[in-house]
Amino acid sequence: MANYNTIRGLRIKYLSADPSNPEDGQVWYNAGTGNLRVDGILAPGSFSSGGNLNTGRYGIGSAGTFTAGLAIGGDLFGSNPGSRGSNSTEEYNGTAWTGGGNLGTSGSWRAGAGTQTAASGTAGNNYSSYISSSENYNGSSWTSSTSAPYAAEASDSTGSQTASIWGGGGSSGGATSPEYPPKFFYGDGEGWTAITDSNNANRYGSTMTGTQTAALLMNGAPGPIAKTESWDGSSWSNLNDMNYPVGNGGGNRVGTSTSAVSAGGNTGQPTTTFATSLWNGTSWSIDATMASPHVACATGGTQSQYYIAGSPGSPAPIRAATEEYTGSTVITKNISTS
């Protein structure tokens, strides 16, 4: 029988502490702790709890990054009947949420873009009607900007405050017929310019990430649908579908058009999912499971580290919980029989 030295060309060393730069597959005995140790074990990605939102809600607009995130407005259903639209903005630092400047117009389902200190919140719902009003954030306060081309809730946006792409969502029909239009526009923080329609409609509560000219648009409702498509600055291209249809999922402003995430959402009505998926630029793969089924939530970060915050719950009451994802990492582990 081959022994470890033959297989790895290494002997199991008796050390007083872990080596500083162990090789993958290296095994040693740590006399200090009394453990047999091995390096190079791949630990899968997983979620841990993050700081709770100060105001639990869903239908939240997203902007920023993992350590400088922004949750924009939202729906207070369940905790505040009759006054559902929130004007609350909260800022995440990777540990805790703190209050930011309040939106000028309360509402939910705003499409967010940009950074924590230069964000936009476009269109939404103020519970009298769908709204087109848009606002820009400077890190402390919101100011009104040119309204979106049509009133819509759960529309989609990505990019920066001064170079965004926006569209989709649910409208009241009529001039923007169909009710779930495939229309998209460039925004520069001051106005809007129409671009080519996306290939697929039903982009209500879709997930969008990337930049104005390298964007990824995925899933959506009604349906829900599993359609994935990219925008390269001149045209839309259909890509491989997700492994399951979903709407109102998280993943907005997470990663890039070639390294994206879809997390949670509605896989039917009212069915929600704990599942997450990763996009590698070509195809989707199922990834870690969340501890709760976040829907229409705030997200931000990269494919290997992102947060997901808020949810209507499963069902209400609304939730303030945040989960933080860390992608797969190579670790050192004890070798044990238990």
Binding site: S46, G51, N52, N125, E153, G313, S314
Partner: protein, 97 residues
């Protein structure tokens, strides 16, 4: 062999559950601060460390059912316009094995 245990615990935010916890045992939250936990030593220690209260499957399911009923009644009281924004909460069946 039973795969799950049940309890109630309030999510206090950062650190309430860790990446290591998620790799050590199954963990899923449900309405009413109900948690379904993989039934092993580490899962049991986690619930105790979080000042959780252990429940039977029937007790945990009853808490979830009450939350669902309350949420459905709240939804039913909404205007038609408001109901369009969120589907009526549906039943949740906790895993049992």
């Amino acid at each position: 062999m039973e795969l799950f245990m049940y309890g109630t615990a309030t999510n206090t935010g950062k650190g309430f559950f860790t990446h290591q916890d998620r790799q050590d045992f199954y963990l899923a939250s449900h309405p009413g601060n109900v948690w379904v936990i993989g039934k092993n030593e580490k899962g049991a220690l986690w619930l105790a460390a979080k000042n959780g209260v252990s429940k039977t499957h029937a007790e945990a399911q009853a808490i979830v059912d009450a939350e669902v009923t309350a949420a459905q009644e709240a939804w039913d009281a909404l205007s038609e316009e408001e109901q369009r924004m969120l589907s009526r909460p549906g039943p949740i069946t906790l895993p049992y094995a």
